[in-house]
Assembly symmetry: none
Homo-oligomer: 419 residues x 2
C-alpha cells in the first residue's frame, strides 16, 4: 500500500510578499507526517480566484488530501469560500450552528455582531463544516472522487486547534493510514554532531522499518524514532526496546521521553516532589518566570518572582550588597548567587533561581562582552552558579539563558520525565 | 505595463516534512517586492527529478523569474544541478573559478578537498555561474525566451548573500522594473470586520493603482497600502495622502506607522518622554515584563517588576490588603488597581501596570470563568482598570492580556509612533 499523499495550499499575498513567514505549513507537515500522510508539495498563492482554482486542479493530480489555509476573513479580499463553492458546484447557505458560535464569541467580547461576521456563517452547501472554537471563520471539509479537501483559517492557533480536534483524526479514519509510531527522546547538553557520534553504532543496528531523526532545538536535540508497520503492539515493543538502549548510551543527557517541553518536565518534577520555586531575573527580564508559568497548574509550585532590572531593585528587593555590586558588578557570580539565595528566602520557597547578564546589543565591555551571563540555582543544600557565554541576538540570549537555567534546575534535582 | 512576476521554488523534503520552517521564501518575497517584482507563487517540492521538472514547467507559465533554492549539496540526493542541465539541454562542465573558490574555502577550514566537493564545481555549460563566497555550491543563472531562472543553495546566509550581491541587482537591470511601495499602518482595538466597515468608503475611493490589505495580528490589524507606478516621488506622495486620511477616520486606533511592534512603540514613547515603568503581574506571569525587556535599551525606562503569583506575594510585595483579597478575590478591580498603584510606588516609577486573571485551563468558577482578567494602569494623575474576557488557550490568554496592557499604556499616554 502506497502512502497517502497531501498538498498544502496557503492563500494570501502577505506570505508571497514576505510580510509573514509561513509557519503553518511546517506545523502541518510535521503533524501529517506523524499520521503517515506524505506531503508532496506546499503551494503559496495569492488571493485570486483563477489562481486558487488552478492550484486546486494541480493539487488534485498530485495528492489525496488538499489542505487549504487562509482567505477566510470577513473582508472582501477573502475569496476562498466563494471559490470553493463554485469549485464544488454548490452555493452558500446559512449554517446556524456556526452563526451561533460567532454570535456567542461576539457576546463574550461584548461587541455588536456585524453583518460581515454574520456572512462568515454562510458555507458551501455540500461541505461538512468544521467548528472553529477560537475564531469566527468555520472550516470546511469536502470530498470528491475519494479525495479530501479541507479549508481552514490562516490564523495559526485557529488552524492548529481545528487540525488537532477534527481534521487529523478524520483523515486517519478516512484513509485508514498504516500505523506510524513516533517515540521522542529529548536530550540536552550534547551538540548534534557529538550526539550522532555516540549513537552511531546503535543507529546503524536499527531494524529497517525504524528510522531515526535528529531534531535540534533551542534546549537540546530531540531524537525522533519512527516505526511503520501493521502490528501496532509489536511496533510499540520494538520502539521501546530501542529507546531503552539509549538510557545506557547517553544516561545523563535525556531529560524527557515524549514531547514534553523542558519547563513542563521541571513542573511535573516539582509537583511530584512537592517543591516550590521563585525567580530573580535581571537579563532574562521575566522570560524565565513566563516559561514556568506557561505550564497549566504552575501555581501549585511557582510562588513568585522579582525582575530586578535596575541595581536599586537588586539591592532593595533581593538584598544584594551595594558593595558586592560595586566590587564585582551586577553581572558577576557573587551577585547572581545572592539573587538566587535571597529570592528563595524572600518567597520562602525550596528553590531559588537567578539570572544576570548582558543580553545586548548594547552594554558590553571588553571584560564582559555582550552574551556574558551568570545563572544560579539555590536550595537548602547548596547554591550553584554557572557562567554562560552566548553571542547571539538579544532575544536568543534571553531564550538560551532561560533554557540553561531550566536545565540547571533539572540537573541539580537530577530527573527524567515520562510523558 | 504589467509587473514582472516571480515564482520561488524550494527543493527538499525537510520543508515538506516540517523539519525546518521555510524562512528563505519570506525573505526573498520581501526583497523581490522591494524591487517591484511580484511573487505569484511559492512552491515547496521534494528532491525528485520529475517533480522538479513539473514545477519548472508550471512556473514558466506563471512567472518571468523563477528562483530555485536547495538541492545543491554534494550528496547524491541533491539533484537540482543535474535536472537543470537536462532541462536546459546542456551538460556539466568544470568551472575553474568555482573550483578555485571551493579549494580556497577548504584550505581556510584546513580540511582536504573531497571529490564530492570538487564535483560541485561542475556546472551546466549554458548557465552564468553565480559566485558563492560563503559556501561550496555556486549559483546558476539561466535565460530562456526572455525569462530568467536562478538556482541557489538553500543555506539561508549563502542564498541571501548571492541575492543581495548578484541576483537582485541583475534582475532590476534585466527587467526595467516599476516602483512598488508599501505603507503599513498598525491599528489596535478594532476587530478586522469593524475596521473594514469604518474604512469601506475610503477603501472604495482608493485610486486603481493603490491596493489595501488587512493583516490581522495578535495585537490588532495591520493595514498594508501598496502602490505601483513609474514615478516614485509621486507614488510616495499619493500613498502618504491616503494614509493621512486614516488619521481622521480611525484616530484612536492607530498605534504606529511602519513595522513597529506595539512594545517597541511604547518603548520609543517612554524614552521620548523620559518616563519609567514597573510591572506587577499575576496571570501574565512575567510575559508582560518580557515583552517590554525584549526591546533593546529597555533598561533606560523599565525599572523592575514583581510576579505576584500567590496571594501571599500580593500582600507582602504589593501591599494589597488581605481584606481586599478576602472580599473581592485576587481577580478583581480592587486588587489589580492596588497592584498597579503600589508597584509604581514601590519602584518609584512614573507608570505602574498590573494583571490579575484566570489564564486557565483550571481555576475558573461560574462567576469568574477562565479568561476573566483584570488589567490596570496607574500614573500620578490616575489609575484605570479594565476587565477582559477571553476564552482562549492559557498561552493565548497570557499573550492577549499582555497586548491589552500595552495598548492601555498607549491609550493612557495617547501616542502614535512614526517608524
Amino acid at each position: 500500500m502506497s502512502a497517502v499523499t497531501a498538498e498544502i495550499i496557503t492563500i494570501g499575498d502577505e506570505i508571497l510578499y514576505g510580510q509573514i513567514v509561513d509557519t503553518n505549513s511546517a506545523w502541518m507537515g510535521t503533524e501529517l507526517t506523524k499520521i503517515g500522510v506524505k506531503v508532496k508539495q506546499i503551494t503559496s498563492i495569492s488571493d485570486s480566484a483563477d489562481h486558487i482554482i488552478k492550484a486546486l486542479d494541480e493539487a488534485t493530480l498530485r495528492a489525496d488530501v488538499v489542505l487549504i489555509t487562509g482567505g477566510l476573513g470577513p473582508t472582501k479580499d477573502d475569496l476562498t469560500k466563494h471559490v470553493l463553492a463554485s469549485y464544488f458546484n454548490t452555493s452558500l447557505k446559512l449554517h446556524e450552528p456556526s452563526l451561533a458560535d460567532i454570535a456567542s464569541l461576539f457576546r463574550l467580547r461584548g461587541i455588536e455582531l456585524t453583518e460581515l461576521n454574520r456572512q462568515q456563517a454562510f458555507l458551501p452547501e455540500n461541505c461538512t463544516p468544521i467548528r472553529n472554537v477560537l475564531g469566527t471563520a468555520p472550516g470546511m471539509w469536502f470530498e470528491r472522487n475519494g479525495k479530501v479537501y479541507v479549508s481552514m483559517p490562516g490564523v495559526p492557533f485557529e488552524m492548529k486547534r481545528m487540525m488537532t480536534d477534527t481534521v487529523l483524526p478524520q483523515l486517519k479514519e478516512y484513509f485508514d493510514t498504516p500505523h506510524i509510531i513516533h517515540k521522542v527522546v529529548q536530550t540536552v547538553g550534547l551538540p548534534e554532531s557529538i550526539l550522532a557520534e555516540q549513537l552511531e553504532t546503535w543507529e546503524n543496528n536499527l531494524p529497517e522499518h525504524l528510522k531515526l531523526a535528529y531534531l535540534p532545538h533551542l534546549n537540546g536535540v530531540r531524537l525522533r524514532l519512527t516505526g511503520q508497520g501493521t502490528d501496532e503492539a509489536k511496533l510499540q515493543q520494538e520502539l521501546q526496546q530501542e529507546v531503552d538502549k539509549l538510557q545506557y548510551i547517553i544516561p545523563n543527557h535525556i531529560f524527557a521521553y515524549g514531547e514534553v517541553p523542558l519547563e513542563e518536565a521541571i513542573g511535573l518534577m516539582l509537583k511530584e516532589r512537592g517543591l516550590t520555586i521563585a525567580t530573580a531575573e535581571s537579563c532574562t527580564g521575566g522570560f524565565l518566570a513566563h516559561k514556568l508559568t506557561s505550564i497549566a497548574g504552575s501555581s501549585a509550585w511557582f510562588i513568585g518572582g522579582v525582575i530586578a532590572y535596575h541595581n536599586e531593585v537588586k539591592i532593595q528587593e533581593l538584598a544584594v550588597n551595594a558593595e558586592t555590586l560595586q566590587e564585582h558588578g551586577a553581572v558577576s557570580e557573587a551577585t547572581v548567587r545572592a539573587m538566587a539565595e535571597n529570592v528563595r528566602l524572600k518567597f520562602d520557597t525550596d528553590i531559588g533561581v537567578a539570572t544576570s547578564g548582558i543580553a545586548g546589543p548594547d552594554g558590553g565591555t571588553p571584560e564582559k562582552p555582550v552574551g556574558t551571563i551568570w545563572i544560579a540555582f539555590s536550595d537548602k543544600y547548596k547554591t550553584e552558579a554557572k557562567l554562560l557565554n552566548y553571542n547571539k541576538s538579544r532575544l536568543l540570549n534571553i531564550e538560551y539563558t532561560t533554557m540553561a537555567v531550566l536545565n540547571l534546575v533539572r540537573q541539580s534535582l537530577d530527573t527524567t520525565v515520562e510523558e
